[in-house]
């Protein structure tokens, strides 16, 4: 009986949490695998964030988050603080300057696959 109650409780809790998860897509200025790692790692530890994925090709950062704990505005702001543009928000210059060289503007302009895109 105790076990059953506990199971119900966990299920109910999981459902309650589930119900609040939302996703947001943020267009960033990320350009490479290193940017992907930097952004995903930082956002993983952001309050309320459940999962993070950046698609380097489209530069879109997909975040699943708890509605109750954070908001797209806070998340966009955080992306700028890591050093990347977030939709219309401009990146924090100080943070950008600290990024790895391969994540700076133009670092991949000579890459083959970038040229193919153009």
């Amino acid at each position: 009986m105790k076990k059953l109650l506990l199971t119900c409780f966990i299920a109910a809790y999981a459902f309650a949490v589930q119900a609040q998860i939302k996703t947001v897509e943020i267009k960033t200025s990320a350009i490479c695998e290193m940017c992907k790692k930097t952004l995903e790692k930082d956002l993983t530890f952001e309050k309320g964030v459940k999962s993070v994925n950046l698609d380097v090709e489209t530069k879109i950062l997909n975040i699943a988050y708890l509605d109750r704990k954070t908001s797209p505005e806070i998340l966009r702001k955080r992306v700028t603080m890591v050093g990347y543009n977030a939709d219309s928000l401009k990146r924090d210059v100080e943070a950008y300057n600290k990024l790895e060289e391969c994540c700076k503007d133009g670092a991949h302009d000579n890459d083959l696959h970038k040229k193919k895109d153009h």
Partner: protein, 737 residues
């Protein structure tokens, strides 16, 4: 999709050349398309590179012990050791998994594929799975090193590898033999866990470059270095016995070419822990302060390192109430003390030639002084060891990189001055003094005809001032005969000088008379082994299985015979045979993306002639089972670990001549030990909570006749299991970059 990786050539990772060098290479797909924009990163370092227009990359300041993590979107990432002096060709296999699974994680630990030795890497992330106090506790999640309990008083944990006592394993700190001599029992407790960046565990006789002492294996410990440290790394730890620890690592850049690192450790246990209420502390009260300060110079061609290490460590155990300041010889109660201080200067000097990248030289050196004051009951011990060590290594190729060699010369000065007073009419009173001066030369040739075969043949000759000439041949071979199966074989000789007093510190805490019937001679052994490593892809996940078999036979050994009589320890040179065999099979597989399972079964046989009978050595489980479950979410935000060890029954020393009430069974029971830890990561570090010996298993009545510690039946050395029960601990790690 196959999880394959091809390299143009291979080098032994146990290479002890330390100069940082440049690594160049190119990253291709399995169908030979250049991968432009792939990232190549160092595992324990922030350094990284991205492949250029032609899929080429270049990384500066790479050390042989570094690991490159190569990744590219849509491909399996891989982790591999660097290859110097020629362009690496790295191939990544396409991943048909969804994109999330291609995060940069790599194979963070396990068998090092390209080494001719069977070499297992334990990374920082692996070490953090069991937040441990010092090196002796760093092998908890590793199946190849077993930890055992020395006795019921000193709290010493001992290691065994391949069923043979840890004193036959050479333990190096960054290539310099360190935990040896008088330190071979206690030395691992003086290497704080938070200082350790990674550990390489090599099974079988190791490379000749580091000396003749690796008789059955080689463990190399890499500490944090100025170039790979966080600016600040702070750690606090507390456990349910009352042990407290504070650790601080600090990195400072001193100009363009100089950097500095400070590693600090302080710990203490001031509570008297006596859970079994036998009147004896289950482990001694202790306090330790340990400081290491290292400097690094990185020039265009010259690399230099110098470091200073000092520590103080005091232990006070035995009967409740015995204190740090109490005098053993006059104390009313039965006490145990071990106070030690050490000062050491060590470093490296290396030169690389930018125009001749295959050529380099290096010099490792260490000068140390250590003294020990201690004893147990009325037995008093004093020891001083002074050591100077230098090792010069030159490395080049013969014609092409198919033929590589390392050669050089070493010198060891090791001075011992020990006094032992038993204050008993029948036991040993002795002064042991000796000075070893050992110049040696070595040569190791590596033949690497293609990417599937490596042969390393080495030999060294050492000219020992006391024991004559040592000839040490070693041979290692690796053959990857299919893409998923690698066969390795090794054979080699080894020597060491035993230190009977320190190596029997567990006998101090017994009423056994120590009878020394030996002429000091070096211990001498042959070790041979074969291993098979298989890596397959099962349901798109890597399945790895390692099986190995090793055989060690002693030509001479200092036998510590506890079977001759229950009131004696008789020490003599081997007269009859002594040999050990070990078989281990280990498997690792991720059950899900986040949950990895690692399991191992081990069977040991270690026979030595004691009391005239060739028999299994005491205190060794012949069968062991190991299971580790490791759960981690992305970027280790949540991490949970559980390790289970089953220890089969052990033979115990013969006590049939004791009075009936003090006899012990001839075998111990088998038992399980479970450890677990959970941690939560943050941007700034992590917090963790864990438990050791969660099932609270304890050896009942570990001490024979605890009521009469000065009597003739007292024996606290008959310990086969944990004396203290469950320990709960918690801690915090804080990092600033």
């Amino acid at each position: 999709m196959k999880f394959t990786l091809l390299l143009l050539s291979f080098v032994g990772v146990s290479s002890s050349l330390f100069a940082q060098q440049k690594v160049t290479g190119t990253v291709h797909s399995s169908t030979d398309e250049p991968l432009v924009g792939a990232t190549v990163q160092l595992l324990n370092n922030k350094l990284g590179a991205v492949t250029d227009l032609n899929a080429n990359f270049e990384l500066d300041q790479v050390r042989p012990n570094d690991r490159l993590v190569v990744s590219y979107l849509g491909y399996f990432s891989d982790t591999l050791p660097p290859v110097f002096g020629q362009k690496m060709l790295i191939k990544l296999s396409e991943s048909d998994e969804s994109l999330e699974q291609v995060t940069v994680r790599g194979r963070s630990d396990g068998v090092v594929d390209e080494a001719p030795f069977l070499n297992i890497l334990i990374t920082e992330s692996e070490l953090q799975k069991a937040a441990c106090c010092n090196l002796s506790e760093s092998f908890e999640t590793n199946a190849s090193v077993d930890v055992s309990y020395a006795d019921a008083i000193t709290g010493t944990k001992m290691i065994q590898m391949m069923g043979v006592d840890g004193r036959y394993v050479q333990i190096n700190r960054e290539g310099i033999p360190t935990i040896r001599g008088l330190n071979s029992r206690l030395g691992m407790t003086y290497v704080p866990g938070t200082w350790i960046q990674s550990i390489d565990v090599g099974k079988g006789a190791g490379t000749v470059i580091n000396g003749y002492e690796s008789m059955t294996g080689q463990i190399n410990v890499e500490l944090f270095k100025p170039e790979s440290m966080d600016k600040w790394y702070l750690n606090g730890y507390l456990n349910s016995l009352g042990r407290m620890e504070a650790n601080a690592n600090r990195q400072i850049n001193l100009g363009k070419k100089w950097s500095m690192g400070i590693l600090f450790h302080a710990s203490q246990l001031s509570n008297e822990v006596d859970q079994n209420e036998d009147g004896f502390m289950d482990l001694p009260k202790s306090r330790q302060i340990n400081l290491l300060n290292r400097y690094k110079y990185a020039g265009e061609r010259l690399m230099a390192q110098i470091g200073f290490n000092v520590f103080f460590s005091d232990n006070a155990g035995g009967q409740n109430g015995f204190n740090f300041k109490d005098d053993l010889s006059t104390s009313h109660g039965y006490g145990y003390r071990m106070d030690t201080r050490k000062a050491e200067v060590f470093g490296k000097l290396g030169m690389i030639y930018p125009d001749k990248p295959t050529q380099s030289w290096g010099l490792q050196y260490s000068f140390s002084y250590q003294d020990f004051i201690g004893g147990a009951g009325r037995k008093l011990y004093n020891g001083i060891e002074k050591t100077a060590y230098g090792n010069f290594i030159y490395q080049n190729i013969i014609g092409s990189s198919f033929h590589q060699y390392k050669t050089g010369a070493s010198f060891l000065y090791d001075d011992f001055d020990e006094q032992f007073t038993s204050n008993s009419a029948t036991s040993l009173d002795t002064t042991m003094m000796r000075t070893e001066k050992v110049p040696g030369v070595f040569f190791e040739y590596n033949y690497i005809p293609n990417d599937n075969v490596t042969i390393a043949a080495g030999a060294r000759t050492d000219f020992h001032n006391l024991f004559g000439t040592y000839l040490t041949p070693r041979l290692h071979a690796r053959w990857a005969f299919t893409p998923s199966l690698t066969l390795r074989g090794s054979a080699g000789k080894g020597y060491r000088t035993p230190n009977a007093l320190m190596e029997n510190s567990m006998i101090w805490v017994s009423s056994r008379d120590i009878v020394y019937n030996a002429i000091l001679k070096p211990e001498e052994s042959w070790n041979m082994g074969v291993s098979m490593v298989g890596n397959w892809t099962l349901k798109n996940k890597p399945l790895s299985i390692v099986a190995d078999y090793f055989y060690t036979t002693f030509q001479n050994q200092l036998v510590y015979d506890q079977d001759f009589s229950s009131d004696k320890l008789v020490i003599y040179n081997l007269t009859n045979g002594s040999y050990a065999t070990s078989f281990q099979i280990e498997g690792s597989y991720p059950l899900t993306d986040k949950l990895n399972v690692k399991t191992a079964y081990k069977h040991y046989q270690n026979l030595t002639t004691t009391n005239g009978i060739l028999q299994q050595i005491p205190y060794q489980s012949q069968d062991r089972f190991f299971l580790n479950l490791a759960y981690a979410t992305d970027f280790d935000k949540w991490k949970a670990d559980m390790t289970l060890n089953w220890n089969g029954a052990m033979r115990l020393p013969d006590t049939s001549d004791s009075p009936l009430e003090y006899r012990r069974p001839s075998r111990s029971p088998d038992f399980f030990l479970v450890n677990a830890q959970i941690s939560r990561g943050f941007r700034w570090g992590s917090i963790y909570l864990g438990g050791e010996n969660i099932m609270n298993f304890k050896q009942q009545n570990p001490i024979v006749d605890p009521e009469n510690p000065f009597g003739s039946n007292f024996d606290a050395s008959m310990t086969w299991g944990p004396v203290a029960g469950r320990i709960i601990y918690a801690g915090v790690r804080y990092k600033i970059n």
